[in-house]
Point group: C2
Chain length 219, copies 2
């Protein structure tokens, strides 16, 4: 469970309900509380949460990996946020591309962002992440594509690698020539992937490379 | 579109409806027909399908990769089949594990298999696959786990590699000791993945290794 203060851990009504009613956690049962920034400690569940051990700090990953995904009509952005969180992606960037089709009002963008934060918080608990991913606000492609270390997923591009630890995935209609201009390109496979699948694959490959479960193709 | 006979291509009412009503394909527009076994040819859409070019044969992948996933209560097997198909996995194996919880009757298993076949056919069209994946019938873990080249996803296992091109993913409760007995183990990441996410990651890593977009960690 994520809490604000590890020295005086408190959980809100929503989390308490989930613990006692859905997971049927009984008073006195062990529970791990975490600040979402890499620090956690063991507790005992009850009317109040009683710390039972010291605070443990998990160091930050040596390299931050990030995935940007373009919003599309009929897309499943919640699924993308959930999966990228489970995979251990550090930064998740919802993108507006030229061919995104969806156009959120500032109010709608706020509602969606709140939902992304909730989805990623729940997925972080489920996957035992001690660092919550950063969910960025809705971003225009042009605002990040020119940054160093960024690569755009595009058929015919090179392999995904840690020299470009932020992969951007386009909408179903693809990137425009202007968007691709001056940006490195990477390929996510020989098949045509749905936008949401491409984002998940990007996250799976970046985290596997970062954790050294696979290696780069050109040593 | 998948057809039975490339020499006399015919599409059924469902596919015709999808083409003309959903995708709004007009008479005379180009269309690619495929036999689902690696052979395709260009056609022109209309009341009948008129071939406009020779049959092209795409050779089989040099190595077949496979993912088995355990059925679980409240799981999303259709999502797994869709994503593994998009990724280019050659063989998809729905598994019954000791802790699967779901117990399908033969009749229910048949209904689900028909749906898996439909989902993978649609995903194959969407991703332009020329070879349909093999969707196996519901299989007990013990019937495949002892086979050569099979590895079971389990925390603490070694990296995914092509020496074991079939990865089995367990249910949320994990494998039993008996199931793990005598079988190689691989790890899909440092975080705890939902069963469906683990299956997708296994497919993403196996296809990336097979297509040489990433390399093994121990050269």
């Amino acid at each position: 469970m994520f809490v604000t203060d590890l020295d005086a851990p408190e959980i809100d009504d929503h989390d308490r309900h989930h613990l006692s009613r859905v997971l049927r956690t009984a008073d006195g049962e062990p529970l791990t509380v975490c600040d979402g920034s890499g620090r956690w400690r063991p507790c005992r569940f009850g009317t109040s949460l009683e710390p039972t051990g010291y605070v443990v700090e998990v160091s930050a990953p040596e390299l931050e990996v990030a995935v940007g995904f373009s919003l599309i009509k009929g897309g499943r952005p919640d699924l993308v946020v959930q999966k990228l969180t489970e995979l251990g992606v550090d930064r998740i960037v919802p993108l507006v591309a030229s061919r995104s089709v969806v156009h959120w009002t500032p109010e709608k963008a706020r509602v969606h962002r709140d939902r992304f934060l909730r989805v990623s918080r729940e997925a972080s608990m489920q996957s035992r992440r001690v660092r919550l991913p950063v969910i960025m606000a809705l971003t225009r492609v042009g605002a990040v594509s020119a940054t160093e270390g960024v690569v755009m997923a595009e058929p015919g591009g090179g392999p995904v690698g840690l020299d470009h630890p932020m992969v951007l995935v386009g909408p179903e209609g693809g990137w425009t020539e202007e968007e691709l201009d001056n940006c490195q390109r990477c390929s996510l496979g020989a098949t045509v992937l749905r936008s949401e699948t491409a984002a998940i694959v990007a996250g799976a490959l970046l985290t596997a490379l970062r954790d050294r479960r696979v290696g780069p193709i050109n040593y």
